[in-house]
Amino acid sequence: MSNAILGRLDLSSLSIWRAIENPTGSELIGAGAAMLVIVGGLAAVILLTWFRLWKPLWRDWLTSVDHKRIGIMYCALALIMLARGVIEGALMRTQQAFGLHGGFLAPDHFSELFSTHGTIMIFFVAMPFIAGVINYVMPLQIGARDMAFPVMNQISLGLTATGAALVMISLVLGEFSTGGWANYPPYTGGDFQPGPGPDYWIWAIVLAGIGTTLSGINFAVTIYKERAPGMDFLRMPIFCWTVICTSIIMVFALPPLTVAALMLAADRYLDFHFFTNDLGGNMMNYVNLFWLFGHPEVYLLVIPCYGIFSEVISTFSGKRIYGYMSMVYATMSIAVLSFCVWLHHFFTMGQSASINVAFGIASMAIAVPTGIKVYNWMATLFRGRVRMTVPMIYATGFFYLFVVGGLTGVMLANPVISFQVHNTLFLVAHFHNVIIPGVLFGLLAGYHYWFPKAFGFRLHEGWGRAAALLWIAGFSFTFLPLYWLGLQGMPRRSVTFSDPAFQPMMWLALFGAALIVSALGCIAVQLWISIRKRDQLAVPLGDPWNGRSLEWSIPAPPPAYNFAVLPQVCARDDFAEAKADGRAYRAPGQYEDIEMPDNTAIGMIVCVCATLLGLALVFWIWWLAILSFAAMILALIGRTFRVNARHVIPAAEIAAEHRAWLARIEAAPAVDRLEETHERNLGRAVLEQPGRLEAAQ
């Protein structure tokens, strides 16, 4: 069964081999996915070699400690994984549309699909996308040169990529867990799933989770300690407030996940009895630990997206955010309350009615601060200079759909209702209804909003609008029918069903899935066309949207050191104020040398070692596990002997770059908001008429 060199890895681990031996439709789909991973990987290698990109990739990206590049790499990782997650979702919709008494997928394959879909969408789409946006934007918004710990930042990215790589490899080698994204034991214990599936889940989650904890520490310390002079806490953009809350959640809520997964690993590998059925194990401990993480996690995801929407809505209304202080209080309240509601994920699992009631009330209470935010956003729009650009289309979709999702959440927070609809498609509809309009729309709005800052050109507006509208329609057609199906009693995670009454809604949901797939296609096309037309879309001067916070006060893309001189912040929305009273775009009296950290390969070394370690543990290849772990520790210790890994950028060079940019600003035509999406927009904004602004405040 297991040998010394290859552990339990053998020919039958290859999903392609399994399809050759047993060519059913389900196996062939699995093999096709494996082929897609292999062909995709090979294509990437060939393209990189063909265009001689290995060296730039290594030098400018993989070894970079620049928070902006790390942020972009996080977002790229998230978009690649999003493609897989969406395809899996569409496949599940197709299976269920044909699922009356059958369908074409084997039950285990369907279970694998919903397990990987959930795991990927949460851990390897939403989390890296959020980490990416935070990495890119937050230091710019607070006027910092980099993260507090740039090298640790790179290691976090490496560990996140490790987790994603393990999930991708599971398509080719072995199989993934069939236990859902929460991976509840004892079903995922050794007795019921002895294969490598749950082990893939465990090591992908543990390694990526450590990376996320480190990210949380990094974000928190950066905000606490690296703010520019004058950037008091209460002058920070709302997005930065949401980042504080998210990093607090990362620091405190990721440990329960790590603990739960490692205890499950002890059960599976060393025959412990944490969560087994026999010998005093207690599986409820797992459920509690998992949701101690899992509930704060959903707020970890959505809170930064509230921040993105705050920035987007305020900028595209040409107004400061309405009710700044209430936004801060609301965000903090949500972050604190998020730790007090975990039990509502298992109302039906045996605790007393009074405990359920306490957690039910706590869960409903979260609707209060969230409601405050929604009203604040609407008040910001009121009499604003509103432009319906792509981020605003997402924001509009978010308003309507997210409120519906929130209200069904209040319904589910009532234990009595939860007993009726738990484990049905009603729940599936609910959490997609908060996560897609809340998190995904927020991230896509942020992607459109900050893309010109990161790359110096805007994304194509028409394709973006098509994608946004398709996402909104696709979401509605896919998931609103699931509420109805859930109320009719259709259980979630069912590969087939026997009641023909479910069929019409299933078809409707399949139609919605087709819309979502085309939305994803539009995003790909949009990126391609935007790159092709980058000269017409260029906004090198850095302020295409008449922005309000510091990130818009520098060129696009920004220099590696971000700010030629650290800004002196005088007000909330400092850049908007500076433009109004003429402080913006002034040459400083003198420039100083800037010290920046050197590139390092440590993040990549950790990534490669951790991926090997994960694979070795999944397949019981003990020698490789020991070797890769030792190599990783030695590399980390070795790295600590490298001190003074910093280089100086001379003041003269900075002055020359900055003055050249200021000269271009001086010479460039400023555009007003009617021309925002026009070729003439080079990234310098006409000041809005003060009278109009004041009337709006």
Binding site: F149, K225, F252, V259, A266, L270, H273, F274, N282, V643
Partner: protein, 209 residues
């Protein structure tokens, strides 16, 4: 004396220049890491307490069959003393008594840490002998998840001391070495705190009639 503290815990003081300034961010970050680690220990403690009952022991051996309070008490004293000696090392650094004094106190702390680990391993061997192994019951799983997790932290601390002794010799007392020693100190004292909880909850609590 009146310089304001830049971070919680012992500050080096302005005469240490870059090391003092740099510690503001770095040591603060380490405090946050320790908070995260504390959450991990808190959860493992909670899991232990949910199975520290006859049902969790599943008819297997209980605390009274396997714990040796005398040995654990000696371990406690050793670990507490090592915290004291580590404190001397930090003070020697703060008051600039030279590398040698720091190294001596670090060495003493290292030896005490290793002594603790040896005694703990002997206790574990005894537990294995009497059948108090994690495969026996949920209770022993939780015990072996908690106490060796602390032991693992102490082992990492010992490795870290060795690395710092080498770095002091190779790199000298440069600012980054000083802030690393500050962080190592926090880590070492943190482990003491965890041990006090283990001694009180697991050992004293377990042996209470």
């Amino acid at each position: 004396m009146s310089t304001p503290n830049l971070h919680p815990g012992l500050n080096l003081g302005t005469r240490h220049g870059a090391a003092h300034e740099g510690a503001e961010t770095i040591v603060f970050g380490f405090w946050i890491f320790l908070m995260s680690d504390l959450v991990i220990f808190g959860l493992v403690f909670a899991s232990y307490l949910t199975v520290a009952n006859p049902m969790g022991m599943a008819g297997g051996p209980g605390p009274a069959d396997a714990f040796d309070l005398r040995s654990v008490f000696i371990q406690t004293m050793i670990l507490l003393t090592s915290s004291l000696t580590f404190g001397f090392a930090t003070l020697a650094m703060r008051h600039e008594h030279g590398r040698r004094a720091i190294a001596v106190w670090l060495g003493v702390s290292l030896l005490l840490g290793l002594g603790f680990l040896v005694m703990e391993l002997r206790d574990f061997a005894h537990m294995i002998e009497v059948g108090a192994v994690p495969q026996r019951s949920g209770f022993w799983s939780a015990f072996w998840g908690l106490v060796p997790l602390h032991g693992l932290h102490v082992a990492i601390g010992c490795l870290w001391i060795v690395v710092m002794l080498v770095q002091m010799a190779v790199l000298g007392l440069i600012p980054v070495v000083k802030t690393r020693l500050l962080r190592l100190g926090l880590f070492w004292h943190f482990l003491d705190l965890i041990w006090v909880a283990i001694f009180s909850i697991v050992y004293l609590g377990g042996l209470m009639p």
